[in-house]
């Protein structure tokens, strides 16, 4: 019995271990690559660790491309779009779960149907809209299309629906308005869901590449991922610089993940959320 269990767990951990190595190795290669010299990075057989950790590549990356500017843009765009979309998500979820208005469920079903339309299709119309609004090459162009999310509204609405009616009635009798009930009862109760939504949304906004590539041509409004791409083409094929730059781009999200791992994992497994 014990031996059988041992074999079972050994196999399980072996498979998981291999999976983990596959997942972690690219990150490892990226981070150590950032510290290597150009000889070391193209050495054969490959070196796992640089001979000594020098920060020259990072300095070069930060000097050549305006990564500080990109970083600031990324922070501004991520915070604004997450704040706005969380706000609209909360309000819409409340309306679709608590308020009684004509056609509520029809409108909601229509919105859900829109989720079937792939992002790439909406891109063209969104692009036209941004141009017509004269927002090309601005941070607003990166924020406005992402100020609402049907998917997160759906997730939050389902949570709101599960809150018993009696809580609402009880609050009503105490003289609580809808607005107060939303912020004092529903939102605090939905905190775990909301944290997950904010985190996943934040990661998506931070990592967003395709849309920024379309609407930003100058460094003034570029965010980190597209900035990195631009650096790659502008700075030539120097792998050690690229690794350093990539590390700068990914680092904030990795730190965020380490702190908020609990929420992301439970959110993804329980809420049926996907990134």
């Amino acid at each position: 019995m014990k031996a059988k269990n041992f074999v079972k767990y050994a196999l399980l951990y072996l498979i998981l271990g291999i999976g983990a190595v596959f997942m972690i190795f690219p990150f490892f290669w990226m981070i150590t690559g950032g510290f290597k010299t150009s000889q070391e990075i193209s050495a054969f057989p490959p070196l796992l660790f640089p001979s000594h950790f020098n920060l020259k590549n990072f300095e070069f990356a930060l000097e050549t491309a305006p990564f500080a500017k990109y970083f600031a843009n990324s922070v501004i765009v991520t915070i604004s779009s997450v704040t706005l979309s969380t706000l609209t998500t909360i309000l819409a979820a409340f309306a679709f779960s608590r308020l009684d208005f004509k056609g509520r469920d029809t409108i909601f079903a229509l919105l859900l149907a829109l989720m079937m339309v792939p992002f790439e299709m909406i891109v063209i119309t969104n692009y036209r809209t941004i141009i017509n609004m004269g927002l090309l090459n601005t941070r607003l162009a990166l924020i406005i299309p992402f100020t609402s999310s049907i998917f997160y509204t759906y997730i939050l609405r389902n949570f709101f629906v599960s809150i018993p009616d009696s809580l609402y009635k009880s609050a009503k009798i105490d003289g609580c308005s809808n607005w107060q009930y939303l912020w004092k009862v529903m939102v605090p109760m939905a905190r775990p869901s909301l944290v997950t939504i904010i985190l996943l949304n934040g990661i998506a906004a931070w990592n967003s590449f395709f849309w920024p590539m379309l609407v930003t041509n100058t460094s003034a409004a570029r965010t980190l991922p597209f900035g990195l791409y631009a650096f790659m083409t502008e700075g030539g094929a120097r792998n050690e610089y690229m690794m350093a730059a990539a590390t700068i781009v990914v680092l904030p999200m990795m730190i965020l993940f380490l702190f908020a791992r609990k929420y992301i994992v439970t959110g993804v497994s329980k809420g049926g959320l996907k990134g």
Binding site: P164, S166, L167, K169, S170, A171, K172, I173, D174, G175, C176, Q180, K184, V185, P188, M189, R191
Partner: protein, 351 residues
């Protein structure tokens, strides 16, 4: 506060939940809305609270017409069956919540919440979350939250049904005590007649959205207006022997037994009737008997025995002295109290 209900009706589409309901509830009373599931008693409660709008009719609090008043302006406290506590708040925050909404200053809020917590005896648990409390404690918190804003009327929806049997006894005494200490007019809904009988000043008995009878519990028990009231109140339930009256005597439908009783004179001949006897209204008799019964078996209850006996082909239950021998026929005499004759079809009481 005195509550007057006039012709109150509530329809959900075609379904009538409450029909033309009249009632007066006196100030400071503990009144129970009693009835089987689906009789409209909770709907009544929610109309008083204002969370359900009445279809027609009027509700007055004292002389004020509150029929169309918003729930928050009525000054009522409502305790839900599932307590409806806010799970993310502590006990203290839960109790403070109604005052917070009313913008009562924080220091006063906490002072009042603590006073009321003491009254319902949960002052030790002020900093716990509801999930860390037992059902009885959650119930106390819910009552405290309803009382903290000093309501004119306290409404309780099936307050004891989520508790286990022992706790139910404790909490019903508690509700009675809290009500008497605060003297707030209280209406509570239950389907448990024992609960209703034991703590209320007055019972409003409902069936199918209509009022059956409204009076003090003992009056309802001793003097039911119809067969429904008689059958609904009392454990063990009242015995019904079905038959008809002919020549001043009650015959069962299959003519297997005859009951001679003066009440038979008040019942019309030619109607299907129910001769109803409370279990405690039977006694053994050597001389003058109302009917004969064959004792089948008995259960010891301490003071007396609960006995199952056959009157003709009908089995009835009654309390007989300890040691009464089974498998024998006895002469049974009926006491003055607890004997009624109802119409089998309409439930109307004849005697």
């Amino acid at each position: 506060m005195k509550i007057t209900i006039e012709g109150l009706t509530k329809k959900f589409g075609e379904v009538v939940a409450v029909r033309d309901f009249d009632a007066v509830i006196e100030k400071g009373q503990l009144v129970c809305l009693l009835g089987p599931s689906g009789c409209g008693k909770s709907t009544m409660l929610y109309m008083l609270a204002g969370t359900e709008a009445a279809t027609s009719g009027k509700i007055y609090f004292d002389d004020e017409d509150v029929t169309y008043m918003a729930p928050e302006d009525r000054g009522v406290g409502l305790v839900f069956q599932n307590y409806a506590l806010y799970p993310h708040m502590t006990v203290l925050q839960n109790i403070c919540f109604p005052l917070e909404i009313q913008k009562v200053p924080k220091a006063e809020r906490i002072k009042r919440a603590k006073e009321i917590a003491k009254l319902v005896q949960i002052d030790e648990y002020l900093h716990r979350k509801p999930s860390q409390l037992s059902g009885g404690q959650q119930q106390r918190v819910a009552i405290a939250r309803a009382l903290v804003k000093k309501p004119r009327l306290l409404l309780l929806d099936e307050p004891l049904s989520n508790l286990d049997a022992r706790l139910r006894l404790v909490m019903r005494e508690e509700i009675r005590r809290i009500q008497q200490e605060t003297k707030v007019t209280t209406i509570f809904v239950t389907h448990d007649q024992e609960e209703a009988m034991s703590i209320s000043d007055s019972i409003l008995l409902m069936k199918d959205g209509e009022e059956q009878q409204s009076d003090a519990p003992q009056v309802l028990y001793d003097n039911p207006i119809n067969a429904f009231t008689a059958n609904f109140l009392g454990v063990p339930a009242i015995n019904n022997i079905y038959g008809y009256v002919k020549d001043g005597k009650f015959h069962t439908h299959d003519n297997s037994a005859i009951i001679e009783h003066e009440a038979c004179k008040k019942a019309p001949e030619g109607r299907k009737l129910a001769f109803a006897i409370r279990p405690e209204s039977v006694e053994l008799s050597d001389v003058k008997a109302n009917f004969k019964a064959y004792l089948v078996h008995t259960y010891a209850m301490g003071k007396e025995e609960l006995s199952y006996m056959n009157v003709g082909t009908t089995e009835i239950r009654g309390y007989l002295p300890n040691g009464t021998e089974v498998d024998k026929e006895y002469n049974i005499r009926l006491k003055d109290k607890g004997v009624f004759i109802f119409d089998e079809e309409t439930g109307e009481r004849y005697a």
